[in-house]
Symmetry: C2
Subunit: 127 residues, 2 copies
């Protein structure tokens, strides 16, 4: 079961991270998200990390990389559901997740993505 599913929801993709992102899995995830953005012409990616209680510089870099890669493909990335302790750790590690949008939860992340994407903003889920 070592594959993180990428769920397509309308124009957005949703990824929930529930397992430790060791090297291989993280690189696979990066590649799979980029493939999915291209395949589905997604305009936004939401990464839920509410189950992640430990974060390190590797994971911080992976999140930054995904955001940078999707931006080149014209999609925005929002990291949602960060636990307070993770935010503390990230700043203490000197990793303020530059260039990555964050939101408190999936719903707020969805609002943020909607606000970042200008055209046909009434479309959602059902389209």
């Amino acid at each position: 079961m070592e594959k993180i599913p990428i769920l397509k929801m309308g124009r957005f993709l949703l990824v929930t991270i529930q397992v430790d992102l060791y090297d291989r899995l993280a690189l696979d995830l990066e590649a799979n998200i980029i493939d999915a953005v291209t395949k589905h012409q997604a305009q936004g990616v939401m990464i839920d990390i509410s189950a992640v209680s430990i974060v390190d510089s590797f994971m911080g870099r992976i999140l930054s990389n995904i955001a940078s890669m999707t931006r080149i493909l014209d999609a925005e990335t929002v990291v949602v559901g960060m636990q307070p302790a993770v935010a503390i750790t990230l700043v203490e590690l000197g990793l303020p997740l530059m260039g990555v949008y964050t939101a408190l939860n999936v719903e707020k992340g969805m609002e943020l993505l909607h606000s970042k994407i200008v055209p046909d903003e009434d479309a959602d889920f059902d389209d």
Copy 2:
């Protein structure tokens, strides 16, 4: 990281199962979903099992239980993203997931939930 996150999206909850559901984790998931349905007054629960490649009678029963429990609380449960091999295994095991709605993917599951829920059907995600 042994906690499966339950994401609230409008009137629905989304759960993606990415790890093996051993006894304790499965029972916790059951309890957490029921708690979340009550807390958020959710009208539907979607369980994505696209990352699940092996299913056994225990997992089949857990899915049936969750569907029955949420139904008592006036919420419907849809299992989405089942791999073909899992469908084959379930039927061969004699576990046709009685009483559980299924859909091919999250989007179709969302449509199914919308069709099952009669009032204020224009509400979604953003509400």
